[in-house]
């Protein structure tokens, strides 16, 4: 059974603030379990917990590089793979945002009654 700190790290991974969210996106897109994810990052499975609890690297290129380097310096993970995981998660988040906006527009369009009799009438200016 997962330890409490592991469970806490998994809860934190639902929050995009944490690196865990990016690692979860990457693992899902590659169909990796924890062992596979650790192997992809070149680290022990036990290291996934502290990794998940790191702050997600900031998106600005110079800060992104510095953040990745700081995480690699501490945990000795594969920096290229880590950067790829975060970039992919960023791309997936953008896609999810686009999809959610499109869904919102569709729902707004469906909310309009097609035969309400008023949709051609000008709006009151009073």
């Amino acid at each position: 059974m997962a330890s409490r700190i592991e469970q806490f790290a998994r809860v934190a991974a639902d929050d995009p603030f944490f690196l865990g969210a990016a690692l979860a996106d990457y693992a899902a897109s590659e169909h990796l379990d924890d062992l596979g994810l650790a192997s992809a990052l070149g680290c022990q499975e036990a290291l996934l917990t502290p990794l998940r609890l790191c702050r997600r690297p900031r998106p600005e290129p110079s800060l992104f590089r510095a953040d990745i380097e700081a995480i690699v310096a501490r945990f000795a993970v594969n920096g290229d793979r880590l950067a790829e995981a975060v970039r992919r998660s960023d791309a997936l988040a953008r896609l999810r945002g686009t999809a959610a906006r499109a869904e919102g527009l569709l729902m707004a369009a469906r909310d309009r009654e097609p035969n309400d009799g008023n949709h051609d009438a000008p709006e009151s200016t009073s």
Partner: protein, 218 residues
């Protein structure tokens, strides 16, 4: 360098960790959580032995999350005599109090947090039957017996964390309040829209896993 291990830090290490939190060091949140989550949970469990350990872990997690998201809430200059651990204890106690208050509102539990603290004199709890920890536990047990959902398949249960099991229990009982799930997930301090989004994501994931496991209850 290896990750920080669970345990309290020296004042010097504490100050260094706090400075790194303020400086947006990406590893600092991890160091904070790894160093303080377990001791904080253990402290709450020892102080409130009648409470469910999950509630203590949730409160400890919320306190740590809050400091990570807003490190300036701790003011070492003004709180010179107070270590980071003391600050986190105070914060976790407040989070636990909020958690219990929300649960009490939800489940009509009437005991106050202080009423379930371990008294140095056994049996000397407020003289109020409703505040007696033994009665609180009995009442909780009665409630949980009355509200026991159908058992989860073993194959599904084995893959779930305690938080997810509790979420499924509440979902089976048709709990609909976002705040109840948000507290469980430790995100109650975030904006309501974000709570709704995250709770929905967590519920959708659980629905999917239930379907995959062939469980069609709830």
């Amino acid at each position: 360098m290896t990750p920080l291990q669970s345990g309290t830090l020296s004042l010097l290490d504490e100050r260094d960790l706090y400075a790194r939190l303020l400086a947006d060091d990406p590893v600092a949140p991890s160091d904070l959580a790894m160093a303080y989550f377990e001791p904080l949970t253990a402290w709450l469990e020892a102080r409130y032995p009648r409470l469910h350990p999950h509630e203590c872990a949730t409160a400890a997690g919320e306190a740590i999350m809050a400091l990570i998201k807003n490190p300036r809430s701790y003011k070492p200059d003004r709180q010179q005599r107070e270590s980071l651990l003391s600050y986190l204890r105070m914060s976790a106690k407040a989070k636990l109090s909020n958690l219990l208050r929300a649960e009490r509102r939800h489940g009509d539990r009437r005991a106050d947090l202080d009423a379930v603290a371990l008294s140095p004199v056994m049996g000397k709890y407020l003289g109020d039957e409703n505040a007696d920890p033994a009665r609180i536990v009995e009442r909780q047990e009665e409630e949980s017996t009355a509200l026991t959902p159908p058992p989860l398949p073993d194959s599904l249960r084995a893959t779930l964390s305690p938080v997810e099991i509790e979420m499924l229990r509440l979902m089976t009982l048709k709990e609909r309040k976002t705040i109840v799930f948000a507290r469980l997930l430790g995100i109650a301090d975030r904006p309501v829209a974000e709570q709704r989004r995250e709770v929905k994501r967590a519920k959708d994931r659980l629905h999917k896993r239930r379907r995959r496991a062939g469980d069609h209850h709830g």
